[in-house]
Symmetry: C2
Subunit: 373 residues, 2 copies
């Protein structure tokens, strides 16, 4: 089973990827904390718990306290963190508490943030249940919540002790969630791993078949390969640049416009991966206009993005979206940085994108969305 | 002017203590950030700003944005942090923002926490305006807010870039706040600095005269000496043990019962330093009962604590207070640790305090409070 190390200045830990991991959790937690007491608290959503509590609890002699957080991006807020902290305290959680984030990126981000700030920092473990969480959000120590003013504007760097990605979990994932998560795998291929990109081109059907309401016993082997390769990309990038001073920025490919689309649609209409997919298409248009990438490669990428669709459409003008990029966290004193592919598996970062360029690229993406060309 | 260095694994910075520092702020901020842009945001309370905005702004060419946070412990909550973050974002604050915490410990703790989590961490500077903030809360990187379940249960370690303690600010401090803050200086003497302790014994009148409604031009020289000596204690302890794995715990002398008193009185009746004073008296009774300190030294300490009073009385039973200590953040899996003086300027940490011992010590403190003996 793939065990992928994350090595950063502030923490070292492993991402373990395998089917049937859940029933082995408790001994793994013990191994992570040799000679150190820990009291596990599960943070999850009612829907996930209803589906997976049995295998999750199989290895626990005493069932841990379970704290529920409602599903949905709109609950990724300070008030939820405060309420969970209050519940932890009422349940007697002290510095020996060990939080288990059991859910998608929302649960992972909020639990990581809660662990970062409860009593100024306690331990936590990520047990991601969505594809996006397995390949992206559970790794790298970024945690946080949204403000009314924008996504993830509040947060901490706080690494988990380990990430346990059980690929069986993906079988119950709504298919749209799977497809949206695969957009982050495409991103991983585009920015860093041409082999992963090709694998996704050649095995789309097998990969996409893992989650389908009718096939709860589907073969997840192809999907597991994609998960492992995507994790490897994130692991290498994060290990080289923990705090996003340079290389880590490449993970934001497609995210500047992607975030603007999410904001323009009030985070309600599109899944994150879907917004990133549109954002990637806009970034590619910018890259083609600047001649950083040849049109043929750009088209291959756009085609792969669409192959893992369908991508929902949305209503917004290019002007609106570009205006919304001004608030991006990556900006410093007004300079807008962009990650642009130069070939499949390679990118560069540019800092001199002008407003008219950005408007044109966004417009071209919107035209593709509306007319299919 | 005393410039006291803090040297921890995660940060190095100075505490500068002097009168008339405020009008020199802006060039100091520039010096802290050579070649790096910064946009200052002031976080303060309306009452402090009304008193001190003029000298504060004297060195700024463009007046920075001021965000107000109401005075009072009850506003040290997540909702306030969220509202300030929202205001920062609306005002266009990005990662170049530099927060200036201008107020007492409440403003300092909340601003430090806001800086820790806004965009996952931005810079901030402490400009403490109370004695407690100058000698204690502005130093060491502990930041945070309260939960309904307890004080400071949420927070981060996040050090300021610098601490500028202008002792002139203490002239407008309500006298009770000054006396309460001096209890932390007594604590510093008790745990680490016998000379400071003696100085406070011998110069009580001069020290206490700094803040008095009638003497807005009082001589603050004696008080400034106490501030500098107290800061030195905190600086040395924090530099040796940033994350409270060992030595730093000694700063909690008097705080276990002190926090219980604050909780029992809903954080409304006593100032923090006053509660710590009562807590110190209880801890001393425990130390005497255990023979860790001779009665003569214990009495000298109790007398000095009372000399910097009067300490307000409160209503609570020993049982209630001891029950409330169970939630102390210093506890791990139920073990209660205590800091006990062994002589003036020296303490030890014990981990085996039993409930009956603690009840007796608390009872003896309550008896002193009620009967004066
Ligand atoms: N921290 C990071 O580095 C990072 C990186 C990328 C994204 N994120 C964050 O991740 C979040 C998105 O995460 P997400 O896409 O996982 O969304 P999500 O957590 O909202 O999960 C999507 C939906 O799927 C359900 N679900 C989860 N697992 C399931 C399963 N196994 N079976 C059936 N249903 C399941 C959830 O209840 C939810 O309704 C965003 O808030 C984003 O900001 C964080
Ligand atoms: N972070 C730490 O390491 C640490 C250590 C100790 C205490 N604390 C925290 O500090 C807080 C207590 O701080 P505090 O005692 O400074 O209380 P505070 O911040 O509430 O200030 C006390 C009062 O004095 C007013 N004030 C402040 N400066 C003034 C001035 N110069 N002139 C006139 N009025 C002024 C304030 O508006 C307030 O009403 C608590 O929340 C406590 O938890 C933190
Ligand atoms: Zn993403
Ligand atoms: Zn204190």
């Amino acid at each position: 089973m793939p065990v992928i190390p994350i090595n950063t200045p502030s923490a070292t830990y492993n991402v373990t990827i395998a089917p049937n991991l859940l029933p082995t959790l408790h001994p793994r937690l013990r191994k992570l904390n040799p000679g150190r007491p820990f009291r596990p608290f599960i943070i999850t959503s009612p829907n996930i718990w209803a589906l997976w509590s049995k295998p999750f609890l199989a290895s626990f002699k005493e069932p841990p306290t379970v704290l529920f957080h409602p599903a949905g991006e709109r609950h990724k807020r300070m008030a939820s963190v405060e309420s969970l902290a209050q519940q932890l305290s009422t349940a007697g959680a002290d510095r020996d508490a060990l939080l288990l984030a059991f859910g998608g990126g929302v649960i992972g981000d909020i639990t990581g943030f809660l662990a970062a700030i409860y009593m100024r920092g306690i331990r936590y473990v990520q047990i991601p249940t969505t594809l996006l969480a397995q390949v992206d959000s559970s790794i790298g120590g970024k945690t946080g919540v949204n403000l009314a003013a924008g996504k993830n504007l509040i947060g901490s760097f706080h690494h988990p002790q380990a990430v346990f990605a059980d690929t069986d979990l993906l079988r119950t994932l709504p298919p749209a969630e799977l497809r949206a998560g695969l957009q982050e795998s495409i991103k991983a291929g585009v920015i860093y791993d041409a082999r992963l990109f090709r694998y996704m081109e050649q095995n789309a059907e097998a990969i996409l078949s893992a989650s389908a309401p009718a096939k709860r016993n589907a073969d997840t082997a192809a999907l597991a390969k994609v998960v492992a390769a995507s994790v490897r990309v994130k692991a290498e990038v994060v290990s080289q640049d923990e705090k996003e001073s340079g290389l880590r920025m490449i993970l934001n490919f497609g995210h500047t416009i992607g975030h603007a689309i999410e904001a323009a649609t009030s985070y309600k209409q599109l899944l994150h991966g879907e917004a990133v997919a549109w954002g990637s298409i806009a970034a590619l248009s910018l890259a083609v206009a600047r001649n950083t990438i040849v049109e043929k490669d750009a088209n291959r990428i756009v085609n792969l993005i669409l192959r893992y669709g369908p991508l929902p459409t949305f209503k917004a003008t290019a002007e609106e979206l570009v205006a919304l990029t001004a608030r991006d966290k990556k900006n410093r004193s007004g300079i807008r940085s962009f990650v642009l592919p130069t070939a499949i598996g390679k990118v560069e970062i540019v800092h001199d994108v002008t407003e008219p360029e950005l408007l044109a690229a966004t417009q071209s993406m919107l035209t593709l969305m509306r007319t299919g060309t």
